[in-house]
């Protein structure tokens, strides 16, 4: 009797363990879910599952506006995904909660060794206080000036290479009676990030901090801010003082403005509305220094969470997503810079002038990257809540550019010093 019982027990145990032999399921959170990106991931997941029948990927699209809150709640509640899409704008926040696995060893010892753009790897590493790689970069983004090539041609104006040329072209292309303006300024939400990109591009200042102090208030940066403010109302719509990116993009795609400073993220919108025959992209113009200094945009990548119970499968999926084939497919569809260097020779890059130009700038040895300190916990509140209203004052002529940058620099310096102390 006892023997029979033992046999039955053994059978039940073996049946149970047999049940666990099915495919491993991992969860993947897309940090910018939506009709534009979800179908691309669906296709990539299909390919991954076909190549790895033992792993099943459960896709969850998270709206980008709420992704940080979703991650925070999941970390606090202990229900994180296996793999998550992240950007460097909130990576430090996740690292600070000890939620992510470092990827250094995996990249060094895996198929991705030497295959990722060094500039992007550096941007991701600089985000973490300990300098480790907590996300595998997948896409780079870069600020560009989108411009109406047809209007430039019509007015016989060459592509501007300096800020002064740009200002001149903007004024020439402004016809208020026809509701046409040469340029649009982002004066509302998100204005400071763009302004800093313009300022450093003009000034050629190579470091965000020099001797622990922010270089934001450098007189050359102030000069650029003055130049932009001078364009307000002269070559831009008056409503620009409240512009966020959606309004800028709407103005540009709607035909009201001839030039817009945004980034490669608006490729799909711009191309869909205007087409490659009417629109082109150029890097932010240089200043009198002639140096190419670029404030890099947040880098997109994939992170494996410490709470994952299937880390091997999770890393396998991350490696797949950042492999030349998947990374190329992904970036071709979204119009961004592929992190995998094997993709740079791909045919689609040659056919996409904006990405080709951006990749060229990033890979140019003369380009100096000046990463903004997005790792500072106060960075968002300083640049948004505290400083955006001040920039509006500058545009409206109620505050001198230098005073505005002095205030911003003081706050960024204090935040950096506090961060150094906490490290």
């Amino acid at each position: 009797m006892m023997r029979r019982l033992l046999v039955a027990l053994a059978l039940v145990v073996s049946a149970c363990s047999a049940g666990q032999d099915g495919p491993t399921t991992i969860t993947f959170w897309d940090n910018n879910g939506g009709p534009g990106r979800t179908p691309i991931y669906t296709e990539l997941i299909k390919r991954f599952e076909a190549a790895n029948p033992d792993v099943k990927v459960e896709y969850v699209g998270i709206p980008s506006s709420s992704v940080q809150q979703k991650y925070d709640t999941a970390i606090a509640g202990g229900a994180t995904p296996d793999v998550g899409g992240v950007t460097t704008s909130y990576l430090a926040h996740l690292v600070g909660q000890d939620a992510l696995e470092p990827a250094d060893e995996r990249v060094e010892n895996g198929a991705l060794k030497g295959k990722l753009l060094p500039g992007l790897l550096e941007t991701v590493r600089q985000t973490a206080p300990d300098g480790k790689l907590y996300a595998v970069p997948a896409s780079g983004n870069m600020d560009v000036i989108w411009y109406r090539s047809d209007r430039f041609e019509e007015a016989k104006i060459a592509e501007p290479s300096t800020w002064d040329d740009l200002a001149k072209a903007a004024t020439q292309l402004t016809k208020p009676a026809e509701n046409q303006y040469g340029f649009t300024i982002r004066g509302g939400a998100g204005s400071i990030f763009q302004l800093l990109a313009e300022a450093y591009s003009y000034s050629g200042v190579e470091k965000f901090y020099e001797g622990g102090k922010s270089t934001v208030a450098d007189p050359r940066n102030a000069e650029l801010v003055r130049k932009v403010a001078e364009l307000y109302k002269k070559a831009t719509p008056e409503a620009d003082v409240n512009n966020n990116y959606t309004q800028m993009v709407a103005q540009f795609t709607g035909g009201t403005v001839a030039m817009m400073h945004h980034n490669l993220g608006s490729t799909a919108d711009v191309m869909k509305a205007l087409g490659p025959e009417r629109v082109s992209a150029m890097p932010l113009p240089k200043g009198p220094s002639g140096k190419r200094t670029v404030v890099p945009n947040p880098t997109d990548g994939f992170a494996v969470f410490k709470g994952s119970e299937n880390r091997e499968a999770a890393w396998k999926f991350v490696e797949f997503l950042t492999s030349a084939e998947s990374n190329g497919y992904w970036n071709e569809k979204v119009g961004q810079i592929p992190a995998n260097t094997d993709v740079r020779g791909a045919e689609w890059i040659q056919e996409n002038p904006a990405v080709k130009m951006a990749l060229g700038v990033l890979e140019d040895p003369a380009t100096v990257l000046v990463p903004a300190p997005v790792y500072l916990p106060e960075y968002s509140s300083i640049t948004k809540t505290d400083t955006e209203p001040l920039y509006q004052k500058v545009l409206l002529g109620q505050m001198p550019a230098q005073e505005f940058l002095d205030q911003l620099a003081a706050k960024l310096t204090t935040a950096q010093q506090d961060w150094e102390k906490r490290k």
Partner: protein, 293 residues
């Protein structure tokens, strides 16, 4: 006692009709009354018109009228984004919350209105105080509780969460409605041999029809519109709701205005229909609860 219940109907004497001719000829009346109303109506309808224009005109078009009409945005949100499933989930959560909130509010509201018990005032104050706590503050504690109860990623969990947040206001509203139904009616029924329960069902409940509609509508719309809980307590694509689907149109770098507008139409239609059907009861119910002594 029966006289208390069945009152002889007061003969309805139509009020003397106003001097129509004079009213029609008074142009000032149009200026004072109709013109502001029409202007206000236009002002209110402009956002809806805008939504329809964006939803029905092709992407990139700038015309002020939705012509030529296209349904591509509806196709995107329904088939591409998965609004079909989100709609179904929202409906289940909305109806589930409506039923649970209404039933509990009815029972609790009746108790609050008809019985005196120790701690009643404190209880009412506590109910009121819960309204000051924003949902976001309760997010992590609720998340932890739901996780240990196995209620994450389930529509039942979302119904419970929405009910918890809708119920206090519903209880307060319902107790006001019940208080307005004369207790003497129930007493009369009980003297005639009804139990309290029977008296409640036979006499009080029919009087509460507008209240049920008002409370139920609020509960439904509250659950229908809830974005935060739906996003936070669900981590499976097939458990998301319409508000989550709508926020997909607002990407990090681009906004799909067509999809946003088409999604807005899909999300607004049931609410508009609910209001169209119940507005008679709703106005009656709200005024009964709010101002009748």
């Amino acid at each position: 006692m029966t006289q208390t219940l069945i009152r002889p109907e007061t003969p309805v004497v139509p009020p003397p009709s106003p001097p129509r001719r004079r009213r029609r000829k008074d142009p000032g009346r149009y200026l004072r009354l109709h013109l502001p109303l029409v202007l206000y109506l236009l002002f209110t309808l402009i956002p809806f018109y805008w939504m329809l224009v964006f939803a029905l005109r092709p992407a990139g078009a700038t015309s002020l009228v939705p012509w030529p009409i296209t349904f591509e945005h509806f196709d995107t949100v329904w088939n591409g984004v998965g609004f079909g499933l989100f709609f179904q989930n929202s409906l289940i959560i909305g109806v589930g919350t409506l039923v649970v909130v209404t039933v509990f509010a009815l029972m609790g509201g009746y108790a609050l209105a008809r019985f005196r018990f120790r701690g009643q005032r404190v209880f009412l104050l506590a109910l009121l105080c819960t309204q000051f706590i924003p949902g976001a503050m309760m997010l992590i504690p609720l998340f932890v509780i739901f996780k240990s109860a196995g209620l994450l990623n389930s529509l039942t969990g979302l119904v419970i969460a929405d009910t918890a947040f809708q119920l206090p206001l519903a209880l307060i509203l319902m107790s006001g409605f019940v208080r307005n139904v004369p207790v003497e009616l129930e007493e009369a029924a009980m003297v005639d041999g009804c139990t309290r329960l029977r008296a409640f069902f036979a006499v009080t409940l029919p009087q509460l029809k507008p209240a049920l509609v008002a409370v139920g509508s609020f509960a439904f719309i509250g659950a229908w519109n809830n974005f935060l809980f739906a996003l936070m307590f669900a981590s499976k694509q097939d458990k998301f709701t319409l508000p989550v689907g709508l926020s997909y149109a607002l990407g990090e770098f681009n906004t799909d205005f067509g999809a946003l507008a088409a999604g807005g139409v899909v999300a607004a239609v049931p609410v508009v229909l609910v209001f169209a059907v119940v507005q008679r009861f709703l106005v009656q119910g709200l005024s009964a609860g709010a101002v009748k002594g």
